[in-house]
Symmetry: C2
Subunit: 211 residues, 2 copies
DNA sequence: TTTTTTCTACTGGTTTTCAGGTATTTTAAA
DNA sequence: TTTAAAATACCTGAAAACCAGTAGAAAAAA
């Protein structure tokens, strides 16, 4: 490891977070922060020229979705280790980041010690989670286990209108289809969410963040 | 202003944020960070001895609610200016902070320039909001304007059961009252939330965080 | 204690949803 | 291009929800 420093780049739109990470890492002589970016585009441009060891990646970016960006970065520089950095504690977001190639997931309340531990872990090819994240992954709720139903465009439209309190008749008028068609979509929504009426449907959809 | 430096204390449970704020403010010779705290209790203890000019206060703290803490701090050191620092963009949280004595509200994506601007503004007795916050305050949504309905115990019970997908009949059995009574409660819920069916009711109640 | 609110229950309606179907056309995938 | 999925449309009967008004008893607040 004494051949060269660990190069780290930071992608986060919050100046506070960038400065904070710099400050937490700067004390360490092995680490060299080679770039900080506030947008996904900027970061991607640099990655076409430079190849960092570690990428600290925020999920909430102004220009692109961090989850998609993760995949893009992994294809661009597959050997770089990506550490997701976020306040999101939703199980499926964490899993999506992993499936898109992240090597670890950290919450923003992380300490200097744990940050360094995480960086070392992913350098050694391990997958690292901060302790809260470990628990979230280990304890899926009933809804998370049953998965998020995949809705068609029409079904999503109908779902949105149901949430607005529209009646089947009104929805038919608005979408220019027969109310009988709307009833079919409604029935399919009930089936997909395993619920038996509109109230329960809205609850289920809300939990799945589909509303 | 040349008599002494502006003393600032920071209350935030994220090391990254504390380091970030320090780093953003340290360059300024007029500012002196006299303390950083990761819990509300620690901060309150210090405030009984020292009186800072500016308090940068996070709303999400592990031990206490930042909104309550704001009031406590304001009673303890009324002359100190409190700048709330948070990612919350919900209108009523912002207003609660103000009503509890905050002198400004900043989002955590703030830049160094704006942070300094905010500190100067509150020092001069102004109330400061970052631009996004200004917009949120200026544009209340329909729900925010109409306020949160006050429900009776029974109504809340019925609402919960509706959210579980229970029918009027089932609710009557479960609460040992006539289904006709449940219908009355249902009707009153619709009236209070200004909605016309169960789906809309669940949406409205969810927005009001009553579910 | 008086007043108000809450909970309860009823009548008599109308409207909407729900749960079975069937079937054609359009769109997307293999 | 064949196949599969999605969207469309229609039907019926039963169940549930919704509306509008009334009104007594119990509980809480003034």
């Amino acid at each position: 490891m004494l051949d060269r420093k660990i190069s780290v780049i930071i992608i986060d739109d919050h100046p506070i977070v960038i400065e904070g990470l710099k400050s937490l890492l700067n004390g360490n002589p092995e680490i060299d922060i080679t770039g900080t970016f506030t947008t996904g585009k900027e970061a991607v441009l640099l990655l076409k020229k430079e190849y960092p060891d570690i990428i600290l990646l925020d999920i909430n970016l102004p220009d692109v979705n961090g989850i998609d960006l993760c995949r893009e970065i992994k294809t661009l520089v597959p050997e770089a280790k990506i550490l997701a950095l976020s306040n999101h504690t939703e199980r499926n977001i964490i899993l999506q980041m992993l499936s898109n190639g992240a090597n670890g997931y950290l919450l923003k309340n992380i300490s200097r010690q744990e940050l360094l531990k995480a960086i070392n872990a992913v350098r050694n090819g391990e997958i690292y989670f901060s302790s809260e994240i470990n628990e979230i992954i280990a304890k899926p709720t009933r809804y998370e286990l049953q998965g998020i139903p995949k809705l068609t465009k029409r079904e999503q439209q109908v779902l949105d209108l149901i949430a607005e309190g529209k009646t089947t008749q009104e929805m038919g008028d608005q979408l220019n289809v027969s109310p009988l068609t709307i009833e079919t979509h409604r029935r399919n929504l009930h089936y997909k969410f395993k619920v038996k009426n509109a109230a329960e449907l809205i609850m289920a959809a809300t939990r799945c963040k589909l509303l």
